[in-house]
């Protein structure tokens, strides 16, 4: 804790002085970077000024009364208690003011809801707790999850490592869009309700499992814009940020080429790639793995994908997140566990992990089957591959 944070006297001065978007004592909406965000920004200030005017009229009258009409200065109480004319005035005048406010708001609302004629369409799927971006025409698809290391977050045992500049607002692979192009988002979710929220782009839209909702934005400034999941979605709700990089058209084209190169080769089994929701990296299927190799990789995969719920100790947080240590599934037949890890378990927080590669899945399953008190057989990538069918 820095002393300055405790300085209550700084409150008022800071509130008045600091209006820059990135400043610590920010008091305004972040600088808009899309036409809709700008509209919302202007609407906000419009209604704020209306409120400020009402504030001074109403509380001017109230405090005048409080200071002048008090018994200690000898005020005698009048006994009036009705006046139809004034009642009508203060019903009608606010009504007119509000209709005047609703007019521009209606225009913006209609504009926000019109996602037609987009230049790019990106399907956004929310998972507990990451985002998947699928560029429908470009054929680019990838996951985006929190990049802040856990040792900066967890301070239960003492101060954590020095926090990154964009602590909790940084991801491994940001969404990238070209500047001045209308981007249509098709937002959905795989498990629970999430919210795709990037304030500076003026988008805040729930992802609802089983339904696709659309929203759109046009990034008018080249730069990086950050947001977060806005709807509580379980344990790691605070840890699924969104980063959007708005790039020049040339840079965007370059990015698409690079991103495409990272995609698995479609000719292997095009229908399977689509069907199994498997954006799994290409790999050599004939490689022979030893149990030790699998365990070593598995530990890393586990830490990245499983430990948030099932915990590093394998004890889980029952009953929402069951223990793997001693679990019947983990110590049971391989097929059962492979099935759950590949396809998830409906009605629970267990999501499908088909996006991971065969070897990663085999590794992490082997890790759980041979760690803590578990002593089950290792699982080979070929078995996972076979189970994908």
């Amino acid at each position: 804790m820095h002393l300055k944070h405790l300085r209550a006297s700084a409150l008022v001065t800071a509130a008045l002085a600091s209006t820059s978007a990135s400043a610590d004592y920010a008091v305004d909406i972040l600088e808009p970077a899309s036409p809709m965000a700008l509209d919302a920004y202007n609407l906000h200030w419009g209604i704020m000024w209306v409120c400020v005017v009402i504030f001074f009229i109403v509380f001017g009258a109230m405090f005048w009364s409080v200071f002048k009409h008090r018994r200690s200065v000898g005020a005698k109480a009048a006994q009036f208690h009705e006046n139809t004319t004034i009642e009508i005035i203060w019903t009608v005048v606010p009504l007119v003011v509000l209709v005047a406010m609703a007019w521009p708001a209606t225009r913006t609302m209609l504009e926000m809801k019109d996602a037609s004629n987009a230049d790019i369409s990106v399907k956004v799927t929310a998972y507990q707790w990451r985002w998947e971006y699928d560029y429908l025409k470009e054929g680019v698809r990838f996951n985006s999850s929190l990049a802040t290391p856990h040792d900066q977050i967890n301070e239960h045992a003492g101060p954590g490592k020095k926090k990154n500049e964009n602590y909790l607002l940084e991801v491994d692979r940001p969404m990238v869009v070209p500047v001045n192009k209308k981007v249509r988002l098709l937002i959905t979710s795989n498990d629970v309700i999430h919210g795709w929220y990037v304030p500076q782009l003026g988008v805040n839209q729930y992802g609802i499992p089983g339904f696709v909702k659309d929203a759109w934005f046009t990034g008018t400034k080249v730069g990086t814009f950050r947001g977060q999941c806005s709807q509580i979605c379980g344990k790691e709700h605070g840890f699924m940020p969104i980063v959007v990089e708005v790039k020049s058209e040339a840079d965007y084209a370059k990015w698409v080429q690079e991103a495409k190169a990272k995609m698995p080769a479609p000719e292997a089994a095009p229908e399977k790639v689509a069907a199994a929701a498997a954006a799994a990296p290409a790999e050599d299927p004939n490689k022979k793995w030893t149990a030790e190799e699998l365990k070593a990789t598995g530990e890393k995969v586990y830490a990245a994908n499983c430990a948030a719920c099932h915990q590093a100790t394998g004890k889980g947080m029952p009953p929402t997140f069951p223990a793997l240590d001693g679990s019947k599934v983990v110590n049971g037949p391989k097929a059962g566990q492979i099935n759950i890890v590949l396809n998830g378990k409906a009605g629970t927080a267990m999501q499908p992990f088909a996006r991971l590669s065969d070897s990663e899945l085999a590794a992490v399953i082997t890790h759980t089957r041979t760690s803590w008190g578990n002593k089950a057989e290792a699982v080979m990538p070929a078995e996972v591959k076979a189970a994908r069918k």
Binding site: A40, I54, H69, Y206, E236
Partner: protein, 534 residues
């Protein structure tokens, strides 16, 4: 809040022979009581207990948010804290407090001897205890308490363990209690008014409760239906809210907020009633625009049924849906504004003094209006979309629920404590409590507007570095506010134990029946013979 004093007065005016008129001693008095004053007292103590409990959760939340990083709690427990804090404050603290006021005051305000259904009254109080135990006990079952936010949205809520079933059962019991309480209040008001007490002569507090009770009867069954569907989705294979089975999670949101928005007014209309009793008393001037106050209250109640969609501007309703809910929401500002203007006109050219109840009433007027302003900002749908689920919303509803509903409750307690206990609280201490609450509250919640504008989502246990400063300040304010409520407990207890003797008409400008017709403390049984109102 008067258990120490009733015993002395039980024989008031009747002699020892009528011993059934006095309360029995000990626990059975409270267990079996059908007396509206005893039941009112129990409601208020229950509510205060839940308030301290919910407040402790809030302080733990604020302590975790004092600085970035996770220091005190893990994220799942944090989510449970925000969820149960909300449920406890809404269903355990604010609503029962108002029912406590209704029990104490409605019969005395209309010149009735008791509530219409005294045994049901007893039952609707005692139902609260198992409900509270279920809610709070759910922290101790495997998996921890509900962690989905107080709105209980599926599918998230489907994922959790037995604590959800406990929460659902608790909501059912609380709903049954509220419905019974409401039937009781409506029946009492419509049938048991003293001769001459026409509807348009009733104190405004009675009016606000009459309207609130109708709201409760209309919406509590809706909530019960929603949580029952959650229950069958969880255990009996239905798919009301599961798209894979033909259901829709959004439907839960619609049903929940069809309950949820009138619920907001259930928590504020009785506060309007209390403030409408306090301000004229200390301005020594009749309430301005009594009839328009009644109509405004009714308008707010009716409009409250058609604005629920403003909680859902980001679910992806069609433009027409968003626009309809935006217009309806904006419309609510009109009758609410009328109320504010009427209160200020009541103060205008009065002869005001500023005892603690008046301070809380003016605090209410000032801060509730600020909550109204942020409500107006959020009513503008495109602005709401950029602020939905941020701390701006958290600030907004704490301005209307804490400095709105809760400040009115505090004001009401100070106002009627002399009538209830026959003793006067310490004015100096009361004012200290007001100023500490006022300052602590604003330090805690005003900066949250800024956090929301900067894009900080609600219900997160950890946050990006640029949110640090305002969060630290907010936490300091929350602790000032929290600790000053212990002072309130001390003030009330010391008043009951040894406050100065209160007069029958403790407040010069108060003119409802309990002040004009009944001694302080109000005897155990009052208005056994109806007063005649001219």
């Amino acid at each position: 809040m008067a258990h120490a004093t009733h015993a002395d007065d039980h024989a008031h005016g009747h002699g020892e022979a009528h011993d059934h008129h006095g309360p029995p001693a000990g626990f059975t008095r409270w267990m079996y009581t059908t007396n509206h004053k005893d039941i009112g007292t129990m409601y208020l103590w229950f509510s205060f207990t839940m308030f301290l409990l919910g407040g402790s959760m809030a302080l733990l939340i604020r302590a975790e948010l004092f600085q970035p990083g996770l220091q005190l709690v893990d994220p799942q427990f944090f989510n449970s804290l925000t969820t149960v804090h909300g449920l406890v404050m809404v269903f355990g603290a604010i609503m029962p407090a108002f029912v406590g006021f209704a029990n104490w005051l409605v019969p005395m305000h209309i010149g009735a001897a008791d509530m219409a259904f005294p045994r049901m009254n007893n039952w609707s109080f005692w139902l609260l205890i198992p409900a509270a135990l279920l809610l709070v006990g759910s922290f101790f079952v495997p998996g921890g308490a509900a962690a989905s936010g107080w709105t209980l949205y599926p599918p998230l809520i489907i994922q959790q363990g037995m604590s959800i079933d406990m929460t659902i059962l608790a909501v059912h019991i609380l709903g049954a209690s509220s419905i019974m309480g409401s039937i009781n209040i409506i029946t009492t008001i419509l049938n048991m008014r003293a001769p001459g007490m026409t509807l348009m002569k009733m104190p405004l507090f009675v009016w606000t409760w009459l309207i609130t009770a109708y709201l409760l009867i209309a919406v509590m069954p809706v909530l019960a239906g929603a949580v029952t569907m959650l229950l069958t989705d969880r255990h009996f294979g239905t798919s009301f809210f599961n798209a894979a089975g033909g259901g829709d999670p959004t439907m839960f949101l619609h049903i929940f907020w069809f309950f949820g928005h009138p619920e907001v007014y259930i928590m504020i209309l009785p506060a309007f009633g209390i403030v409408s009793q306090i301000i004229p008393a200390f301005a020594r001037k009749p309430l301005f625009g009594y009839a328009s106050m009644v109509y405004a209250t009714a308008s707010i109640a009716i409009l409250s049924f058609i604005v629920w969609g403003h909680h859902m501007f980001t679910v992806g309703m069609p433009a027409a849906g968003n626009l309809f809910f935006m217009y309806a929401t904006i419309l609510i500002a009109v009758p609410t504004g009328v109320k504010i203007f009427n209160w200020i006109s009541t103060m205008w050219q009065g002869s005001m003094t500023f005892e603690t109840p008046m301070l809380f009433a003016i605090g209410f007027l000032f801060l509730f209006t600020i909550g109204g302003f942020s409500g107006l900002v959020l009513a503008i749908a495109p602005v709401d979309i950029t602020l939905h689920n941020t701390y701006y919303v958290v600030a907004h509803f704490h301005y209307v629920l804490v400095s709105g509903a809760l400040f009115a409750i505090f004001g009401g307690i100070y106002f009627w404590l002399p009538k209830w206990t026959g003793r006067m609280y310490s004015e100096g201490m009361g004012k200290l409590h007001f100023w500490l609450s006022m300052i602590g509250f604003n330090i805690a919640f005003f900066p949250q507007h800024f956090l929301g504008l900067a894009g900080m989502p609600r219900r997160i246990p950890d946050y990006a570095l640029q949110f640090h400063e305002w969060n630290a300040i907010s936490t300091i304010g929350a602790f000032i506010f929290g600790v000053s409520q212990v002072l309130f407990l001390y003030i009330v207890v010391s008043t009951i134990r040894g406050g100065a003797k209160a007069e029958q008409k403790q407040w010069e400008g108060a003119d409802s029946l309990e002040w004009t017709h009944l001694p302080s403390p109000a005897p155990y049984h009052t208005f056994e013979t109806s007063p005649v109102i001219k």
